[in-house]
Amino acid sequence: MEVWEAIFKRRSIRSFRDEPVDNNLLIKLVEAAIWAPSGSNIQPWHFIAVSCEEQKAKIKPFAPGLTGMPPALLVICTDLDLCERKGGRLGRDVISLMDAAFAAQNINLMACELGLGTCVIRSFNQGAIQEILKLPPQLVPQLIVSVGYPERAPQAPKRRSVQEVMSWERYG
């Protein structure tokens, strides 16, 4: 699949077929994630794959942004201590979030290529997810990516046009 096609085809998928996602595919998604750009190449991430029904059921009520029950979740965490040690305050406050976002987009695009659908989720309670996943305090869950086989291809939500969002040389 061409990159352009994946960029266009990728949608946030919120309803999935009742079909498990093979662990090797989840590994492949994380492999794509670790090749994302990383501020100062800190690579502060840790990915937790969750496909056990019991564990997903514990996460769900603390993640209001998670629609339905996807076959798998990839929880993207970043190590804030490592970010601060290697990247200072910028590392802790900014790079920790941005690296998670770049990793998530690599997961989205790779999933698209593999015929999987994803949805990036931020509406969840970080403290609660930390408890459920037994994360050490410095490892903060930044995004949850739901993963599964899409039930249907949703309509693309509207985009602001290039003309509206782009300027040359200076604003306006």
């Binding site: 769900k60 009520p61 603390f62 209001p64 509406s123």
Partner: protein
């Protein structure tokens, strides 16, 4: 009644209360509708008047509209309220 589902609704409502302090305002109505859907599921269909079951189905279909089309979302919620009020008015 499914006790575990009811407990999930409790957690969902409290988590949403916290989330709504920081999230886009339109997520408030969405979370309330989601909690309604979860409550109906938790309580079980037997004890619930049919209008609420029918509206649950509608709500499940349209609730994500709030992300893309707030006006259409508002219209759908209005329709739901009107149908329920009409039923209650008799």
């Amino acid at each position: 009644m499914n006790k575990q589902r009811l407990i999930d609704v409790f957690c969902f409502i409290i988590t949403s209360a916290r989330g709504c302090l920081e999230e886009p305002p339109v997520y408030g109505p969405l979370r309330l509708l989601e909690a309604y859907v979860m409550l109906v599921d938790a309580l079980g269909e037997e004890d619930i008047p049919s209008i609420f079951l029918e509206e649950k189905k509608h709500i499940e279909e349209y609730m994500m509209l709030c992300m893309y089309d707030e006006k259409a979302f508002q219209e759908e919620v209005d329709k739901t309220i009107n149908r329920i009020a009409r039923e209650i008015a008799g």
